[in-house]
């Protein structure tokens, strides 16, 4: 199969660096170019990827590399609509970061334009390619747990705002400046916006949709932020099973401008854990563990060194397969819509102190 000719846009998303190795190594891809959001980002990009041409203008990049077939949209959430439109108009397939937009009208526009163009638009939710999640999915499908009664899940990380400032700016992260609730000085756009995965997993693993969600915020760990960093989500799925989700930035970080070793203060900087109770028993899972451990450089702090992060192999396999064989990716815009709706429901619940129904 011919390698897919691909480019990256903006380079401001937290997952950007995860693609560099994949784009270079994966024989299914040919990495032609990148377009940086700013001169500073371009300079950093050039220093770590000297062989890949980097531009500051998206159109210029395409003019210079007219054979680009697909792009990875790695930008702030409020850029996604415009960039999707830009790609659709030029017939480029899209692999997009995890939040297309929180504005449901915009969201439906995006569905419409992608559909009409007949292009692949895959949302990057890497948990779908995680081997532990595969096992959970199989165990549930095999009926090991019977009907699901309850799911508890964490998607907790350190906060990436010091390296990716847009994640702390309500307009860029949530898309607009909306107070969390009356009397609270904070705005929508923080930890919740960073953590769609467990909302997606709740749907994918139970095979049903959300019935209602109730959410509440806790005092921020980082008082400097104007967005929420600690919250919990409670509710029920349509099948009557209940859930408790923790999508917080509950692990503290060194405030590095460029993430690297020593980023974490708590030993484990990222966790996706699940407890699923079913009529026939209980399953507990850590999607990123066990690992190896050290207390060496740079800070002599005890640190969880993750031993596997291969999700991007399966993710690219699916994306290339969809483009080349004209298939619909599992996490397309339509599938992903209810996940975004549920996250919006959390914000609505926080402001109303009441559960919010999903239709």
């Amino acid at each position: 199969m011919k390698p897919l000719k691909i480019a990256m846009l903006s380079l401001t998303h937290g997952h950007t660096r995860k693609y560099f190795q994949t784009l270079k190594d994966n024989p299914k891809l040919q990495w032609l170019a990148a377009c940086a959001d700013s001169e500073e980002i371009k300079q950093h990009f050039n220093s770590v990827n000297p062989d890949v041409p980097c531009y500051l203008d998206e159109q210029e990049m395409l003019d210079r590399h007219p054979d680009i077939e697909a792009v990875i949209i790695a930008s702030a959430n409020n850029e996604h609509l415009r960039q999707t439109q830009f790609c659709v108009e030029r017939g480029l397939h899209i692999l997009s970061m995890k939040i297309p937009t929180f504005d449901m009208d915009e969201y439906d526009q995006m569905i419409d334009m992608v559909d009409r163009a007949g292009l692949v638009c895959q949302i990057e939710l890497e948990m779908h390619y995680n081997p532990v999640v595969h096992r959970i999915k199989k165990l549930i499908a095999d009926g090991e747990l019977g009907c699901i009664l309850s799911m508890q899940a964490t998607n907790i990380t350190l906060s990436p705002v010091w390296a990716f400032p847009w994640q702390g700016v309500p307009e860029q992260s949530y898309g607009s400046r909306i107070p969390l609730r009356e009397g609270d000085g904070r705005f929508r756009g923080g930890a919740l916006c960073d953590h769609p995965h467990i909302f997606d997993l709740a749907r994918w693993l139970t095979g049903t949709g959300f019935d209602y969600l109730y959410a509440d915020v806790a005092p921020n760990l980082r008082t400097e932020l104007e967005v929420e960093d600690m919250l919990l989500v409670n509710g029920k799925m349509k099948d009557g099973s209940s859930f408790l989700l923790d999508p917080s930035w509950s692990r503290l970080e060194e405030r590095l401008k460029i993430p690297g070793p020593g980023w974490e203060v708590f030993p484990k900087r990222m966790e996706v854990n699940l407890i699923i109770s079913g009529e026939k028993g209980v399953l507990m899972a850590d999607c990123f563990g066990p690992n190896v451990y050290h207390n060496g450089a740079p800070n002599d702090r005890y640190t969880v060194q993750y031993t596997y992060f291969d999700e991007w192999i399966g993710l690219i396999d699916e994306f290339v397969d969809c483009v080349r064989n004209n298939k619909q990716p599992k996490i397309n815009l339509k599938w992903h819509r209810q996940t975004i709706e549920a996250m919006n429901a959390c914000y609505d619940s926080i402001s109303s102190n009441a559960p919010v129904k999903i239709n």
Binding site: L149, S150, Q152, Y212, Y214, D216, V217, A218, P219, N220, L221, R222, T223, M230, L231, L232, N234, G235, K236, G240, S241, S242, F243, L244, D246, S248, S250, R251, F266, P267, K268, N273, I275, S277, G278, E279, G281, V282, M284, A285, D286, G289, P290, N291, Y293, Y302, V304, N353, A354, P355
Partner: protein, 263 residues
């Protein structure tokens, strides 16, 4: 409750502990392992066994988990400000359906929540499925938020799986070591009889199970300090009311506030 010893044994252990440390209770007393008509004097037993009963004057409802060393240490970590400005508590307790009801787990975890946080719960939202799994959010008077994950869906005979984590502006404290999911034990044996685990934390009461030790120590504390016994009775009433409130919250799909008389 896992009991490997008869009630008589535990009463004798408690008696010898009182003797060793020179404590002379002001009334007759008896330590009970199940709800039964109290005889003369005080009847000391876990508050979880008294949830469906009027609290007669002779009953002293114990919260034996407060005598678990891990919780004593967690409380101390908060009180000494080893972690500062707690924001969120994340509590989890899974058992089988024989050893606990969801109501009993709510009783225990609400108590741990308030005790570790050093504050009182002001309101709850709960989602409960078939009386076998409950997910609860509780807000505390001091502004902290608490998530409580409960279930009684483990197979019969399973040991309890729980976790108690406090997340603060400075630091996280937990009774589970990082990157693990399961409670760990002090001793593991692997023999032709299978795998067994042991965790002994109290040489003075060696031979008792962990739960037996905490009930003996909790009873000791109330006998050594009658004022503390009175506080247990007050806290018991609040905990019973809050467990009911959580179930009502699930039924009504509403956030419900803890009423004044409950605090």
């Amino acid at each position: 409750m896992e009991t490997t010893h008869a009630r008589q044994d535990l009463n004798e252990m408690l008696e010898s502990l009182l003797h060793k440390y020179g404590v002379t209770p002001s009334q007759k007393w008896q330590l009970l392992l199940e709800l039964r008509k109290a005889g003369d004097g005080l009847a000391l037993l876990s508050g979880q066994l008294l949830m469906d009963t009027d609290l007669a004057d002779s009953y002293v409802p114990l919260m034996p988990w407060r005598n678990e060393r891990r919780f004593t240490e967690l409380k101390q970590i908060v009180e000494t400000q080893t972690i500062e400005h707690v924001s969120t508590l994340r509590l989890c307790c899974l058992t089988d359906s024989q050893s606990s009801t969801i109501e009993q787990l709510l009783y225990r975890e609400f108590d741990l929540c308030e005790w570790l946080a050093g504050s009182t719960i002001t309101g709850v939202f709960a989602s409960i499925t078939e009386g076998r799994a409950a997910n609860v959010l509780a807000r505390l008077a001091n502004g902290m938020l608490c998530g409580i994950e409960l279930g009684v869906a483990l197979p019969a005979g399973s040991t309890v799986i729980d976790r108690h984590e406090l997340i603060a502006r400075r630091g996280v404290a937990s009774d589970r070591v990082v990157d693990t999911q399961m409670p760990q034990s002090s001793i593991y044996t692997f023999t032709a009889n299978g795998q067994a685990e042991y965790t002994d934390t109290d040489a003075e009461l060696f031979g008792l199970s962990g739960e037996e030790i905490t009930i003996v120590r909790a009873a000791y504390d109330t006998l050594a300090d009658p004022a503390w016994a009175e506080q247990c009775r007050k806290q018991h009433s609040r905990l019973v009311a809050m467990a009911k409130l959580a179930i009502e919250s699930d039924n009504k799909q509403q956030w419900l506030t803890v009423k004044e008389e409950q605090s």
